[in-house]
């Protein structure tokens, strides 16, 4: 087994790990040895092919279809140099004041997160897309929301030189999206931080000792380390493997005994895709896919966003099969899509746990308020589609596969709670949060407000698992702001650890 020694090791290179690496990189000038251990591959530019199943296999855990224990929801999260920032749409929102106040974490203020978020908004080139680059799928949503009196806003996105491939969720083939793989990680490497890809950290054994294994893959650039087992020592360890794998790693490492909240309070913004069919071809898969959101119903527990998914993801989200399903699928160019996201309360029994092999298992039950929010959101979305001019609408909890335009006054009878059966409809999540939540006490949280694990001065968490409750928005910028706080704490303390 090969051995390596560093001062600071960061596990994971997504929004949290990538931001922490860049913020700590200046320490390399003072002699600090810093490494990022990333489980996923670093793809060569020509490997971003935009082909759905191929890219899903390369860039996501289990191709983006990790099941919860009872198989009622799939979880999509990235595994790559840059983590999930390689596969998100680049939507970069500042967290509103309301959720931060609601979390009530002592020492964590909205003003502090806002200041740090603004830094990344500048650094990652976040801006509003020019109007002429908005496609019909987005414009129709905006116009319909305005017609119906719903508050609708444009998403700021972090692109540079976007050519409108519309393939953001498969890794941008034009290198336009400014995730940590384009901004923070290259900047960190330029200052001396080592990034070791294809490297899975299996467990933390005692004080700053990590057992890791480098895997061989048939794609991506070779890892800087040889395949096989590695022992890594560090003065400070920052865990940034995301809301599933960070709690799992800490549980495997035996920290669950002293931290009863570890793995718990997992939230996910459970999401559904709805489809409206227009009588003519619209521009939907050309251009950036996600330009608008509607938070008009946040108080009622859901958000609506524009989206445009790829054929397979679309097909699996249409609840049905056979001729009617195939007929709708064969009109991809006429489809308008809306993503609905339920704002789910963090509950202790929704949690990450381990199977016998030590691999993570997510236990998640849909609460009644979440199911009610999903039901209501489908009816609102159907109204938006019809207001936008759609001929017919597919709602996952529809009594029929398609609701026709002339039936739009009967949505209460046609979209029903009876049909909203978890396990029947495709509920998915890409906003995984919690499991190592921040808080004041080890009784109900895992870290303090600076991401330090309670009672373990050399161990930090810097990713989406820190959320004490759901973010109520797309969470990436907030994750970076969290990581910025963690990096500040580590900078101040690493020598004395």
């Amino acid at each position: 087994m090969r051995e390596h020694t560093f001062d600071i090791v960061i596990i994971g290179s997504g929004a949290g790990g990538g931001a922490a690496a860049k913020e700590l990189a200046p320490l390399c000038r003072e002699g600090a040895r810093i490494a990022v251990l990333e489980w996923g591959p670093r793809l060569a530019e020509h490997e971003y092919t935009g082909r759905e199943t191929e890219m899903a296999g390369r860039l996501y855990f289990e191709s983006g279809g990790v099941f919860t224990r009872d198989r009622t929801m799939t979880l999509a999260f990235g595994r790559a140099y840059g983590g999930s920032t390689v596969v998100y749409t680049g939507t970069s929102l500042m967290i509103p004041e309301r959720p931060v106040k609601r979390w009530g974490v002592p020492g964590l203020t909205w003003e502090d997160l806002r200041r740090r978020s603004l830094k990344y908004i500048r650094e990652n080139n976040v801006h509003l897309l020019e109007e002429e680059r908005l496609n019909d799928n987005n414009r129709l949503f905006q116009a319909a929301c305005e017609r119906l009196g719903f508050r609708v806003e444009q998403f700021p996105i972090n692109v540079k030189g976007c050519k409108g491939a519309g393939l953001c969720n498969l890794g941008c083939p034009n290198a336009a999206k400014q995730g940590t793989h384009r901004v923070q990680l290259p900047a960190a490497e330029a200052q001396g931080v080592q990034v070791i890809t294809n490297c899975k950290v299996q467990r933390i054994e005692g004080r700053g000792v990590l057992r890791a294994v480098v895997e061989e893959r048939s794609f991506g650039l070779p890892s800087p380390w040889e395949p096989g087992e590695h022992l890594v020592r560090a003065r400070v360890v920052i865990v940034a493997g995301g809301a599933v794998h960070s709690p799992a790693l800490l549980l495997r490492s035996g920290l669950g005994r002293q931290l009863p909240a570890l793995g718990r309070y997992f939230t996910a913004h459970p999401a559904l895709i709805l489809v409206g069919e227009h009588p003519r071809s619209i521009t939907n898969y050309y251009g950036h896919p996600k330009s608008f959101y509607c938070d008009h119903f946040a108080e009622r527990g859901f958000l609506l966003e524009t989206c445009m998914y790829f054929p397979f993801v679309t097909a699996k989200n249409l609840i049905g099969f056979g001729e009617e399903h195939a007929q709708l699928m064969h009109r991809m160019d006429r489809l308008q899509m809306i993503l609905v996201l339920a704002l789910d309360e963090a509950l202790p029994d929704n949690r990450v746990t381990l199977d016998r092999a030590g691999e993570p298992v997510v236990e998640y039950r849909f609460s009644e308020p979440v199911l009610e929010a999903l039901l209501e959101s489908m009816k609102v979305s159907a109204r938006i589609f019809f207001a936008a001019g759609a001929q017919r609408v597919h709602a996952p909890a529809g009594e029929k596969f398609l609701i026709e335009r002339h039936e739009q006054d009967h949505l209460d009878e046609l979209i029903t709670r009876r049909r909203l059966q978890p396990g029947r409809i495709s509920i998915a999540s890409a906003h995984l949060m919690g499991g190592c939540r921040m808080g004041a006490s080890p009784a109900d949280s895992v870290t303090d407000s600076w991401g330090q694990v309670h009672g373990v001065p050399w161990l930090y968490v810097a990713d989406s698992s820190l959320f004490p409750n759901c973010a109520e928005i797309n969470p990436y910028v907030t994750i970076m702001a969290f990581a910025d706080r963690v990096a500040e704490a580590v900078r101040a303390r690493w020598r004395e650890v």
Partner: protein
């Protein structure tokens, strides 16, 4: 170990034609891609999931015996659809979830083929803005 044996593949194709009718029109290359995509997807799942899919295929094949005295393959197409619809909408949760997983694999095998995109009016371009600004 191959994720499915020949008999299971052939049964999967049979079910597939009810779930994704255009599957019947695939040429040899399309059928090969269908198999490769599904085999790859199964290969990256935990062994337990592969075993569950195999078990579900067996159940799907035999369960109609209880109701109609015939296996799934022996039923006329309309009755096959009725049985699949029952699995989707009315069956106990575990069976519903099993059918959802099977449908997902079949959709992946067909709609995951980039080569077929034009046939369902999906022709993305790395320079999609050109179509917006034209």
């Amino acid at each position: 170990m191959a994720p499915l044996n020949e008999s299971q593949w052939s049964f999967l194709h049979l079910v597939g034609r009810r779930v994704v009718p255009p599957l019947a029109n695939l040429d040899d290359a399309g059928r090969a891609r269908f198999r490769t995509i599904i085999a790859n997807a199964l290969a990256e799942r935990p062994p337990g999931v592969r075993a569950q899919i195999r078990a579900f295929l067996t159940l799907l094949r035999l369960a109609p015996l209880l109701r109609w005295g015939r296996t799934f393959s022996q039923l006329p197409g309309e009755r096959q659809d009725r049985f699949l619809r029952w699995l989707q909408d009315e069956a106990p949760a575990r069976l519903r979830q099993g059918f959802w997983g099977l449908k997902t694999l079949l959709f992946m095998g067909y709609y995951g083929q980039a080569e077929l995109g034009a046939s369902f009016a999906y022709t993305p371009s790395p320079t999609g803005n050109e179509y917006l600004l034209a």
